[in-house]
Structures are given as C-alpha cells and as structure tokens.
Amino acid sequence: MRVQQFLAAIFLAVPQALPAQQAATTPPPPCKGPEHRTLDFWVGDWVAYDQAGTAIGTNRITRNEYGDCVITEHFRTNDGSMIGHSVSIYRPGLKQWRQTWVDNQNGFFDLVGGPVSGSDHIFVFENKRPVETAPFQRMIFQDVKPDSFVWRWQNRAKAEDSWKDSWVIQYRRKGAAAGS
C-alpha cells in the first residue's frame, strides 16, 4: 500500500475526456436509449457452474459504475485460479458493443459484438485478433432466462471453421431456486 503513503498531485495537461466542455453544451444524458440496455439481462450476482453441475465461481455484473454507460463484470473462480474483470459499452456510432477483459493469467481481450436474432444465442462478443495468426475467439450467451443462462467461450482456427466450445459455464442467479 505504498501508494497511499504519498498522496500527491500529478500535473496533468489533459485527461482522456473533457467533462467540463461536455457539460457546457448540455447534451442529452448519455447512454439512455434502449440500445444501451440490450446487455442488461447479464446484470446481477451469479453463481457459475461447470457442465457437471459443480459450482466453480461467482460473477458480479453491475451497470452503475459509470453512469448508465458501462456494464462491469467481476469474475472469480472459487479456487482463485481465474480472477478477471471486464467493461462493456455500447457505441451508437458503430451500432456495436465493445468489451475489454483483463485477468490474472495475463489475459487482455478486446471484443466487439451485440445482440443476435435468429440464432441459438442472443448475444455475442468476438475477439478482435491482435495479430493475423491469432485464433478466432468469441463468447455467446444462450438459453437466457430471468435467473439463468449459459455462457460459452468458443474458438476456431480459421474463419471458415465451425466454432468449438473451449469453456462452458451455466450461470444461476444467486438465491434463485434450481431450475428457475
């Protein structure tokens, strides 16, 4: 905790955003449209189960850390082997969701996606590959119900290949009865 021992001023030219400038023009409140709410089914406190039905971890999804704009994820396995965090935001100009994930296994994933219709899943995030040789990876949300859903992390070597599961998690909302 050395960092708190020197509470210091930093000399700053510009942060990444210009809040005062934005306030001066009084734009409509950001992130209020229904398109910003299409990932809200994910919000909540969840227990993660493997395909054998064993509880392996927890995931807490919130939507109030940055106004109405950002949905945050806090995931950890019960054994501490995977601890991670993501932020997701809808970008109206691109009509696309963006997610960034970091974890304790040196993972950094930059993903884009959005709602899906006419498929076996209702939402997808696909990894933006950092290099051409990187595998294609995506996560999908399927069988989404008020208190449960299935999450699949999938990959394929080439764009023309079929997606294959590499990690499947059954989520159940904390406190919800089994089968709900």
Partner: protein
C-alpha cells in the same frame, strides 16, 4: 489493492504452487509508477481537475484507473499484452466515450499511449497521445496532445 493481494495469496495456496505469477516480469511493472491515489491538477490553471485512483489488480496483470470529477466518472483497464508486445489501455466513461490506446515505454522510461479517434463527418483519423512521466518527486506528469496528420505534427490538447 489489499483485497486483490489477499486473493492472490489464496490462489497460490490453493494451487500448492510457489512459482511467481505470470505477470511478475519487469515488462508487467513498467506502468507501476502510475499506481496510487492521486489528486489531479491541471498544470495550466493550477486547479484541481479531479481525483484518480489507480489500482494494480489481478496478480499484477492489470492496472485499473478510476477517475472522478464533478458529474463525471470514467476508468480504464491497462495491461501489457504479450501477443503484440504492447501496452493497451481501454478507456470508457459516463459520457459514453470509448478509446483504445496502444503503446509502451520509450527509451526515457515514459509511458506513451496513442489512440485513433475517427473524426465526425469523416476525414483523417485524429491521433490522441498520452505521455506519462514519473517525476523525481513521486508525482506523475500526464501530458496529452493530438495529431490530425498521422503524427507528423502534434498539438497540445487543452484540458478545458
């Protein structure tokens, strides 16, 4: 930080391993000088611009920025990405902005991160650059400029 550190210790115990985490390499610590609880002052006006809490998380694999100023919150996730050998910063905020900065440490030890920002109505992409410098007095200087000509010329981004 204390919470994350506790979790990290638990993970080592559960796995029965004593090996260092995968993020203890020097390259993963290049941005550690930014970690801390900061009062941020605009050097031009001398006014306090906001508060920023920079956390080192997830066994040292990521740095999270938590920015707060009047009526505004934002944050970023920062990590060294072995896949391309660069530092990445993804910024998101309560105004709906998203910026993906990519870069690394220069020969002087400064962290230099650059994002591409599409221009309204098209035209050349604006490059936004941030340079973080660890000062000798344990403060940090964050300087930001931009370029509309692909990096040939840079101009200061004023704060207000």
């Amino acid at each position: 930080m204390l919470h994350a550190a506790t979790l990290a210790l638990a993970a080592v115990t559960a796995a029965g391993q004593t090996a260092p985490s995968g993020c203890s390499a020097a390259v993963n610590r290049q941005f550690d000088f930014w970690v801390g609880e900061w009062t941020v002052t605009d050097s031009a006006s001398g006014q306090v611009a906001g508060q920023s809490r920079i956390e080192k998380l997830y066994d040292g694999c990521a740095i999270r920025e938590n920015w707060t100023s009047a009526g505004f919150t934002g944050g970023s996730l920062n990590a060294y990405r072995a896949a391309d050998g660069k530092w990445h910063q993804m910024w998101m905020d309560s105004a709906g902005a998203v910026r993906h900065f990519i870069g690394g440490v220069d020969s002087a030890g400064k962290m230099v991160l650059t994002a591409e920002q599409p221009r309204p109505g098209g035209g050349a992409v604006r490059l936004i650059r941030m340079t973080f410098t660890a000062n000798a007095d344990a403060t940090v200087r964050q300087y930001s400029d931009f370029s509309d000509d692909g990096g040939a010329h840079w101009q200061l981004r004023p704060f207000l």
